[in-house]
């Protein structure tokens, strides 16, 4: 699904991605983990074309990410936090994105129902609670049935019920053959969702493989401890 080769990025003197290589297989959930400043956000933003790399290439399906924007019609992005325009309603935001994507495909409204969000979509965003805004953020990512979902800390700010609704949805779209790339600080959540893990340290992939293999390799029984072992090794290296 995604082939990243030799991806390199500087922000001024900061070398954020160092010739990073990563293959993300289709119809799987890939978790990007790593310590703060490892380059997770930059990697995700490079996938979306928000950040331009200095060198290397990203291929998503058959398209090389190089300035042409049409490939993004196949991506649903859920940022960590969005401040939506305060005086627009959820429905208006949906209409705007529908137009921008030129999408005529049937919409995935399952999340709207599962979150029981229908009535809230008619209200201006400024009247919605933080959790409801985050649900709106999730809906917008799933709505257009994208083949690739990029989710940055998707359950942050959601109550336990909504969080499990969202996790169920992630697993069900994966089951339907779509690919999910996500980050999270909640290791138990990744353990529930992820098939594969890419562990980033200092802008490189220090480990990539299945969740099972990572635990096995570090002789740990859960992901949190396995990642902690990796981080200690990363610091020692």
């Amino acid at each position: 699904m995604i082939e990243i080769t030799g991806l390199d990025k500087h922000f001024g003197a900061l070398h954020v991605l160092r010739r990073l290589d990563l293959h993300i297989a289709p119809a799987r959930v890939m978790a990007i983990v790593g310590p703060n400043g490892a380059g997770k956000t930059t990697l995700i933003k490079a996938l979306l074309g928000l950040v331009r790399s200095d060198a290397g290439s990203i291929r998503i399906k058959d398209t090389v990410v190089d300035g042409d924007v049409s490939y993004r019609a196949g991506i649903g992005y859920m940022p960590q936090i969005v401040r939506f325009p305060e005086n627009l309603s959820g429905q208006e935001l949906i209409a705007l994105l529908t137009h921008l994507r030129g999408s005529t495909a049937p919409r995935d409204e399952e999340l709207i129902e599962a979150f029981a969000l229908g009535a809230h979509l008619r209200k201006p965003v400024r009247t919605l609670s933080g959790g409801t805004r985050q649900k709106l953020n999730a809906i917008l990512a799933f709505l257009f049935q994208p083949e690739l979902l990029v989710l940055d800390e998707p359950t942050a700010g959601l109550d336990p019920l909504s969080s499990s609704v969202l996790k169920d949805r992630i697993l069900s779209v994966r089951g339907a053959g779509r690919t999910v790339v996500l980050t999270s600080h909640i290791m138990s959540e990744l353990e529930e969702l992820a098939d594969d893990v890419a562990f980033l340290v200092d802008g490189r992939v220090a480990y990539v493989g299945t969740l099972f293999d990572l635990k096995h390799m570090t002789s740990q029984t859960n992901l949190e401890r396995a990642v902690a072992v990796m981080m200690r090794r990363g610091m020692a290296a």
Partner: protein
């Protein structure tokens, strides 16, 4: 093109509903209404209103604009992750801010004049020039606000820069010009001063308006020079064209910065 219009449309819708824009409209409404009541005639009211517009529009536009662009940062990122070209998105975001601000100004000023029937033929032309100059200043300072918010990462610092730019153009500039004239008193200064007027959008708007009142000498040194050298239509056309450049150049630079920026 339709992408640009769509983004503009939602920007306008969002701002038109904001309480803040209502306050901005009411401010000009109250100023125009008050000046009309307390001035002997429409022309004098327009003259006073000119000072208000030249002072308030750049300040509010650049400060509000900078804060607004920072606030829209994350939503802009979400829009950038959609299949849209950056250049179209930038134009849409820019117009979505500049258009409602200019509309608020135009409505706030024009309605009281229409209500009072003060828009007689002579004043109607000046009123139109005032609204046009205010809209042009809105366009210029919105573009500068985008440039600041795109180039300066830290929000507080960015707002500081915005206030600094306003202070420079609206307050210090005329003083600097006078200082230069005093320093080079032995030299012919008219042409350099003319060039300096062209380099300040607030001065350009002032000149454009004061040429209509025949009072340029009353409002700043630069205005007086402009009128002496380029009274009448030549001056108006030159000032209008220079203002247009003052919109086009920052917008073009903003486009370029936006297209290349890492978000």
């Amino acid at each position: 093109m339709t992408t640009t219009l769509k983004v503009t449309g939602y920007g306008v819708r969002n701002l038109v509903r904001s309480r803040w824009l209502l306050v901005y409209t009411l401010f000009f409404f109250a100023a125009a209404e008050g000046l009309l009541r307390f001035s002997a005639d429409g022309t004098k009211a327009l003259l006073s209103l000119t000072s208000v517009v030249l002072f308030v529009v750049p300040l509010v536009t650049i400060v509000f604009g900078t804060v607004y662009v920072y606030g829209a940062r994350e939503f802009t990122e979400l829009l950038l992750a959609q299949p849209v070209r950056r250049s179209q998105l930038f134009t849409g975001l820019y117009l979505g801010l500049a258009v409602p601000l200019a509309m608020a100004l135009g409505a706030g000023i024009a309605i009281p004049f229409a209500m009072n029937g003060a828009a007689r033929a002579a004043d109607a032309g000046t009123l139109a020039v005032l609204v046009f100059a205010g809209a042009a200043l809105t366009a210029v300072f919105t573009a500068l606000a985008f440039l600041i918010a795109l180039r300066v990462e830290d929000r507080l610092h960015g707002v500081g820069v915005a206030i600094g730019v306003w202070l420079l153009f609206a307050l210090f500039y005329d003083g600097l010009v006078l200082l230069l004239v005093a320093l080079f008193a032995d030299h012919p200064m008219e042409k350099p001063v003319l060039a300096m007027v062209l380099a300040n959008p607030v001065d350009l708007a002032r000149v454009l308006l004061l040429l209509r009142f025949d009072l340029a000498a009353l409002m700043g040194y630069t205005g007086a020079v402009f009128q002496r050298l380029l009274g009448g239509w030549t001056g108006s056309i030159l000032a209008g064209a220079a203002l247009a450049l003052w919109v086009a150049i920052p917008v073009a630079i903003g486009q370029r910065v936006f297209r290349r920026k890492d978000f």
